[in-house]
Amino acid sequence: MTATVTTPAARRVSGVLSKKAVVPWLFLAPGLLLALVFKFWPMAKGIWLSFFDVQPFLGDQWIGLDNYTRVLTDHRFQDAIGHTLVLGIGQSVGAILLGFVLALLLEGQARSLKIIRTAVFLPAVTATAVVGELWRLMYYPTSDGLLNSGLHLLGLGPVQFLDNPDIALYSTVAMGIWIWAPYNMVILLAGLAGVDRSLYEAAAMDGVSLWQRLRYVTLPAIRPALMIVLTLATIRGLRVFTEVYVLTGGGPAGSTDVWMTRAYTLGFTRNDIGGASAASVVLLCVTLLLTVTVNYLRKRGDAR
């Protein structure tokens, strides 16, 4: 490869090599260009703006970390951190548990099971905005709303699912679980399909209980799938936006405001571009940190 560039033959080789070296970049160019303009440039711009007091006609003023201290000391943002955690952890844990139960229930080769799996997966392929409208109607606050009429049969009064500040956040968690449990089910089913069947047989010969079989055979075998589901859920939970925005819009009284809906309001409704950028950068840093940590733990876990 590293021929001296004196002979004509060698020069021809290096000419071919350089042409060959250009080709992959031609293929990569459209993707890199789009990623640069619509992902990395906005990211850089966001970081840059987060240090400024952005004023449309007066010019931007460098204010250092003021935006960050302002955002982090704002009590509505502090509340939003709590809501994001409740929502993220609640819907992640709920969707993983329910997804696991669904996967155990719907595991198998029968045709009827495949049809049921197709139907159960519907929430995951439906646009979030449509899901939001659906749940708004299910949560209809009068006693003849869909869920409330069910509660009425049980003799329970109508619940103000989305209008009561104490309940709205948990209503949003329930919708999140509903959306993501089927998605987790598919990944966990793929994990279950890879479990060595002879282990089940061996376990049966050793006369272990069903619980022990799940605990010592199934769970260790699907650990990688569980870790992936957990990673995806964590990152999704942090940047949750659309679910909350379409279901409650952050209300009532900010009781469902999460980090991103708060940043959105700050940036687009209140025109505080600098503050909203700072909030986004904080979220970006936390996401990066979390992804790296989880990946590190995952690799260490795999090595063990």
Binding site: A21, P24, F40, A119, L137, D144, L146, T291
Partner: protein
């Protein structure tokens, strides 16, 4: 659609796998599933049917209320049910008067154009990453992976500024479909998955074609792509679902509400005091049907895609 390269889980030793398959054929069904479900009528069998019915009731039945509500004359929360009482298309007519078909048109143009661009861009990038060796390959791979960590939510505010004034060329993409289509072009997931798939194509096939004097573009178009059909199917379905689910991007790329996609436009219908929830549900049906069709037609590639994408990380 036989796609040996996108198996959900890879077994390292092929012998063990065929042995396990052999064992599955000969052993009773109770070793096939983690819970050892029986497929013969009995207590466990009945229990399973009951649980399946509950699962269907929770996850699938609510969709029936969307359809029945859309077909019921002027329903509210009170008259929602799983089956329409006396059906009418009035709600769709009112939704049409509120411009729902224009919004659907926006959605279809964006989904079609966005998906086409996404597939072309990601295929080109994947071809270079999978079939060429060049300096900086790992770095480029990392860059595409990072695009997945920069979703619209996190970069919404600066992206909105960029869409209004694209750097260097100073174009205003706001209010055009390009404002939504172009940011969807480079999707890290498709690049990863297609790269992974193309890498498994044997080098001999490529070498034979090279001896025949096949150039790069023909190599991709006539040799590699026909072998990638299953992976392209997966990228297509997942890409469509992802684009159809976009909410924030069409919202910030719009100049005024007439630029909205049908999913975003649902909020306009909802806040319109003159229409009832039946009209909102008619809009929801219209927003739901395209993704439903794609899912039901191609659900196998979608499910294998999610599983493959997940297990390959």
């Amino acid at each position: 659609m036989s796609a040996p390269a996108i198996e959900p889980v890879r077994t390292p030793v092929p012998d063990a796998k065929s042995l396990a398959a052999e064992a599955r054929r000969t052993t009773p069904a109770r070793f096939d599933t983690a819970l050892g479900w029986s497929d013969r009528p009995g207590l466990a069998w009945t229990f399973r049917i009951l649980l399946c019915a509950i699962a269907l009731g929770i996850f699938a039945a609510p969709f029936l209320t969307i359809f029945s509500g859309a077909l019921t004359p002027n329903p509210s929360g009170s008259s929602l049910s799983f089956l329409p009482h006396d059906s009418t298309l009035l709600n769709f007519k009112v939704a049409g008067e509120r411009g729902i078909w224009d919004y659907l048109g926006n959605s279809l143009v964006i989904a079609g154009g966005g998906l086409l661009l996404q597939l072309v861009v990601c295929t080109l990038a994947a071809y270079a990453l999978a079939r060429h060796r060049f300096r900086g390959r790992a770095l480029i791979m990392l860059l595409f992976m990072m695009t997945l960590m920069l979703p619209e939510e996190v970069i919404a505010i600066p992206l909105s500024l960029v869409l209004g004034d694209v750097p260097v060329v100073h174009l205003d993409l706001k209010g055009t479909v390009w404002g939504v289509i172009l940011p969807l072009g480079a999707w890290g997931f498709s690049v990863m998955m297609l790269t992974e798939f193309m890498r498994d194509i044997p080098a001999e096939i490529e070498e034979a074609a090279r001896l025949d004097g096949v150039g790069e573009l023909r190599m991709l178009w006539q040799v590699i792509l026909p072998l990638c059909k299953p992976a392209l199917g997966v990228a297509g379905v997942l890409g469509f679902i992802m684009i159809w689910d976009q909410y924030l991007l069409p919202l910030i790329a719009a100049k005024d509400p007439t630029d909205y996609t049908v999913t975003v436009a649902l909020s306009i219908l909802r806040t319109d005091p003159e229409v009832g929830s039946g009209v909102v549900l008619a809009g929801a049906v219209i927003a739901l049907i395209p993704s439903l069709i794609v899912y039901l037609l191609l659900q196998r590639s979608l499910v294998t895609g999610i599983a493959a994408g997940a297990t390959k990380g």
